[in-house]
């Protein structure tokens, strides 16, 4: 069963965002990890880099495929999840725990353009 977690924001391209004040934690969804299969490599962004919404901030690679991760919001990369370097499979184990990067939000309005869990669930069901 594909899990969609309550309280997160979602994109069409299967990223999630968890907002804590001005900090936005970004990861890929359970739907994304399920379709990719065993994840064996994560290319992490560089802390301090500025990203615009829609830009590629990371690449998640499974045995068979590489998948771009797009920034759901604009801002500055403040932190990256270094644990994913050695244990990329954490994304398969729990996609909503295994955040990839934390971005300092630049424009709060962008959050309103993201989906809530109910809308995202509909997207997943439609495939």
């Amino acid at each position: 069963m594909i899990k969609v977690q309550e309280g997160l924001k979602y994109t069409n391209s299967h990223e999630w965002v968890r907002v804590e004040g001005q900090n936005a934690y970004i990861g890929v969804t359970d739907y994304a990890q399920h379709h990719l299969g065993d994840i064996v490599f994560v290319e992490l962004p560089v802390p301090g880099d500025k990203v615009a919404k829609g830009e590629v901030i990371s690449v998640v690679e499974s045995v068979k495929a590489a998948s771009d991760v797009y920034a759901p919001v604009s801002g500055t990369i403040m932190e990256i999840n270094e644990e994913l370097s050695d244990s990329p499979g954490m994304i398969n184990e729990d996609a909503y725990e295994a955040w990839i990067a934390m971005v300092k939000l630049e424009n709060d309005v962008e959050l309103e353009e993201l989906m809530d869990d109910a809308d995202y669930e509909t997207i997943c069901k439609e495939g």
Binding site: G37, D38, V40, F41, E43, V63, K64, A66, S85
Partner: protein, 364 residues
């Protein structure tokens, strides 16, 4: 898409079906890593019914093979399986295949699924010896049982003495749970194992019996994904990647299958010349030094100049490392040489290493 007789089994087992060169086959069931490691540890079961099988019969069958293929079949005993490239006159590769010898007048060729039609036309066009060729591909199912527990599992289903069946040998008439099977000790994983050829209508029951017999060893069905990572670690070429019209067998490191000490055959003069002049580019193995995962077709550089391309890039599950094979200029093809793989416009450092990455566990 074409379906093998085991299609419904794959769906029932949760296989994720993909289009593989026109065939509907599972890329994975439980997951590529788990399936891969299960084959290395105990055993896995593969549906390879998409492979092509040609029967050739006639007085001049051996003579025909001697002309068609680069390996030597003059002294080949019955019951033996021999690997060979099949080349064009310029030394480029039509396909690589297995030859099964029943007797001097009867052989099987087992060819790559994606090349079956091309090979069929090629084999017919070269037939100056009046050999009778029959394409059995649509009526023969093939199941591979691979891994260190393969013999223990299979011995539960047959009275045949499996110890007597040596590596790269076959028995055309083995009874396995009541079905007549052509059984060979061959595979594409670097592990001990068997390949079972049978009529399509027996495939489902045979598959189920094998799954059941393997239960106590934790046997798993294995998809195309792990089939590829297993052969990759074992250093085996895949047609279209390490062998092609542009990559001849000498460049692929398969020189021992290109014989000069036999009469003329297709590609001989070109290959003899290439060997005497030395290949310009060859296939090497590499290991990533910096972080990155190389993929097929990525370009390879050394100090700013392009020296070749990646033929297979993957995570090697048994070794826990990102590795690859590449077709590069011979000047850089020495073990220990540092090379750069272009990954998303960034040069990522790797180094040339020996193949295979994973030592084979064949029972000789």
């Amino acid at each position: 898409m074409k379906k093998t007789p085991l299609y419904e089994e794959h769906v029932a087992l949760g296989g994720r079906i993909v289009d593989f060169g026109g065939w509907a086959l599972p890329v994975q069931y439980s997951g590529i890593l788990e399936e891969h490691l299960t084959v290395r540890k105990t055993a896995g079961l593969f549906d390879v019914s998409h492979m092509g099988e040609f029967l050739l019969e006639g007085e001049k069958a051996t003579e025909y093979l001697q002309h068609l293929l680069t390996n030597d079949f003059a002294q080949m005993p019955s019951g033996k399986v021999t690997y060979s490239p099949m080349c064009y006159p310029d030394g480029g590769v039509v396909d690589d295949l297995l030859v099964y010898k029943f007797d001097d007048r009867k052989y099987w060729l087992v060819v790559n699924a994606s090349n079956t039609q091309k090979d069929w036309e090629w084999c017919n066009a070269q037939n100056e010896q009046g050999v009778v060729l029959t394409n059995l591909s649509d009526s023969v199912a093939e199941i591979a049982l691979q891994g260190p527990a393969a013999q223990d599992i299979l011995s539960k289903l047959t009275n045949t003495d499996l110890d007597a069946l040596k590596f790269y040998h076959f028995d055309p008439r083995v009874e396995i749970c009541g079905f007549r099977v052509l059984l060979s000790r061959t595979g594409y994983t670097g592990e001990d194992g068997f390949e079972l050829y049978t009529d399509n209508e027996n495939a489902v029951r045979l598959w189920r019996e094998l799954m059941k017999a393997g239960q106590e060893w934790g046997i798993k069905p294995v998809g195309l994904g792990a089939r590829d990572t297993l052969r990759f670690e074992a250093g085996m070429p895949l047609y279209g990647q390490e062998l092609s019209t542009q990559i001849n067998p000498l460049a692929a490191g398969l020189g021992s299958f290109v014989r000069e000490d036999k009469p003329d055959y297709i590609g001989k003069s070109a290959l003899v010349q290439i060997r005497s002049q030395g290949v310009k580019q060859k296939i090497v193995g590499f290991d990533m030094i910096d972080r990155g995962l190389a993929r097929n077709h990525y370009e390879v550089f050394s100090k700013g100049s392009k020296i070749g391309f990646v033929t297979t890039g993957s995570y090697a599950p048994s070794l826990g490392k990102n590795m690859g094979m590449a077709f590069i200029d011979v000047a850089y093809a020495t073990v220990g040489q540092e090379i750069e793989i272009m990954i998303r416009d960034k040069a990522v450092l790797a180094k040339v290493i020996k193949r295979p990455f994973y030592p084979n566990n064949y029972k000789k």
